[in-house]
């Protein structure tokens, strides 16, 4: 009994690792046709679903030319759904290459840029407000007010993201378009909605970090004649620094991978923005909108995108964990 229990527990613990590894592996295998087709150049290609003569495909410099796969045969192979098992065949297929026909080019640059920009806008918008809320709750508001408002903030952090998206589409988008002009769905609206979504999350985490500052430390700064601003700036923030930065990075990660809050309001258009009020696209939104109607290479391309997103969020979280939120 003892032993079985221990083994069972161990198995469950390994499951998390297994799932993570499996996710990375499956995404990679599913994305492999696209990776072989477009290489790392995919990251810098701005066209999406455009037909081109395959004379000058975008290639990463390290890709050997005669490994260039053929679109038609592969697409056929992909269509029969079990392309994961067949991945070895692709390598074999590469040999009977014929050149001179056309292929459809996919590139991730537009959604990558859209994802990064919308997240950055979200951060610029949310950091000051979330910090304001955190400071307000922990240092300024009287206890009677801080308690219920704090609970409200935590509850708001749990509201499903789809709600934020829907509100953004029907109310916030038109509101912003009324102020700044442009479309009711745009990079700007998407960024701001994302920002509003992560505010309660960031504020709650930062408030927790700030509340670890011992009262006595703050009192001793006041005892030297510091004002509230000076105590917060010189004592509270430096003391809680790693916790606050960690909360910002976690919020960044959350905004980066967010689908539903953005899907309603970014527009879903493959174009670079000239102005922030133009619609564009982001990786999660491409995934959400195109998955159902894709197959073959276009599906593989989506897996490639998912892999990129996975890697991006993995890096963000890893940075947060290893540099700022180390457990003591």
């Amino acid at each position: 009994m003892e032993l079985i229990f221990k083994k069972l527990a161990q198995l469950s613990a390994s499951l998390v690792f297994f799932i993570l590894a499996a996710t990375a592996l499956v995404l990679y295998l599913s994305a492999r046709p696209a990776i072989e087709e477009f290489g790392l150049g995919f990251l810098f290609e701005s066209r999406w679903g455009v037909e081109e003569t395959r004379a000058q495909p975008v290639l990463s410099p390290n890709q050997v030319v005669d490994e260039m796969p053929v679109i038609d045969e592969q697409a056929d192979a992909l269509l029969d759904d079990d392309f994961i098992d067949d991945e070895d065949d692709f390598v074999g297929d590469d040999d009977d290459e014929s050149s001179g026909d056309t292929r459809i080019v996919y590139g991730a640059l537009v959604p990558i840029v859209g994802t990064l920009f919308s997240t950055l806008i979200a951060m610029f918008f949310s950091i000051p407000i979330a910090m304001g809320i955190a400071v307000f709750l922990s240092e300024i508001a009287p206890k009677l007010l801080a308690k219920p408002v704090g609970v409200a903030i935590e509850l708001l952090a749990s509201i499903p993201s789809i709600i934020y998206g829907m509100w953004g589409l029907f109310y916030f988008g038109p509101f912003i378009a009324g102020i700044f002009g442009g479309n009711t769905v745009s990079l700007l609206v998407a960024g701001l909605v994302l920002g509003i979504m992560v505010i309660p999350f960031m504020a709650a985490l930062s408030r927790d970090a700030i509340s670890t500052v011992p009262d006595m430390l703050k009192e001793s700064a006041y005892a030297m004649g510091a004002t509230k601003l000076e105590v917060i700036k010189d004592v509270v923030f430096p003391y809680a620094k790693s916790g606050i930065i960690g909360s910002i990075i976690l919020s960044f990660g959350r905004a980066l991978g967010e689908t539903m809050a953005v899907a309603f309001v970014i527009g879903g258009v493959y174009q670079f923005v000239g102005k922030v009020t133009d619609p564009t696209n982001s990786i999660p939104v491409v995934l959400a909108n195109s998955f159902a109607e894709s197959s073959g290479l276009s599906l593989s391309v989506l897996f490639y995108l998912a892999l990129i997103l996975f890697a991006m969020s993995f890096i963000v979280i890893a940075v947060a964990k290893f540099f700022f939120l180390r457990r003591k």
Partner: protein, 261 residues
Amino acid sequence: MKNMMEVQALTFTYNGATEPSLKRINLPIEKNKVTALIGPSGCGKSTLLRGMNRIHDLYPGHRYDGTINLLNSDGEAYTDILTIKKEAELIRLRQRVGMIFQKPTPFPMTIFENIAYGLKLSGVKKRTQIEEVVEQSLRDAALWGEVKDRLSLDARSLSGGQQQRLCIARAIALKPEVILFDEPTSALDPISTLAIEEMISVLREQYSICIVTHNMQQAARISDFTGFMYLGEMVEFDKTETIFMKPSVKQTEDYISGRFG
């Protein structure tokens, strides 16, 4: 000679409490002397101390009644610090009445910046002047020799005893007139405690000191005057020898001889 501070008939009530925590307290703080406050926990000795630089005012809703007089720098008249309303004057008060806490409270900055912090707050900008004061304060706190080569290290890298001496150096860098010690050695080992006690007896020459302690031997060792408090009242106040050798109140005698508390 005039007393540095005089607490007169001070009654203090915490926010929301029905009973006052301090009842008509009288306490003189003589110039260049050490005054100790002893008594069982919860007797109000820390509450009294925290009234003397109005650190209580960080939390709203508390009530003071009575007077706490602080000698003006001209050495003639007194100001009642309980009448201070403006924030700027409160800040000035806290720079004149320094405070050391139960645990070391190094700010999250370097050793140098910790000491210089108070000066910067009070508007001192000249680098040479700051450096001078930092060195002098660290010397007075018997810390200079130990830290002079690592002034740019995080203050939290020091040992507990060193941190507490750093806090004292930080307080005296502002040249206060009174220093309040709130059980300054309760978190320290015996050797560090001894170092702090020696320091206090040196500091007495320049500053007026009031120390709260739960350790009667400490009060006997370092103070000139001792006040025994119980349940929010000042039971007895006298010269330290008198309190420990010939207390006039039975309660004081019982406490000193270890029968309660």
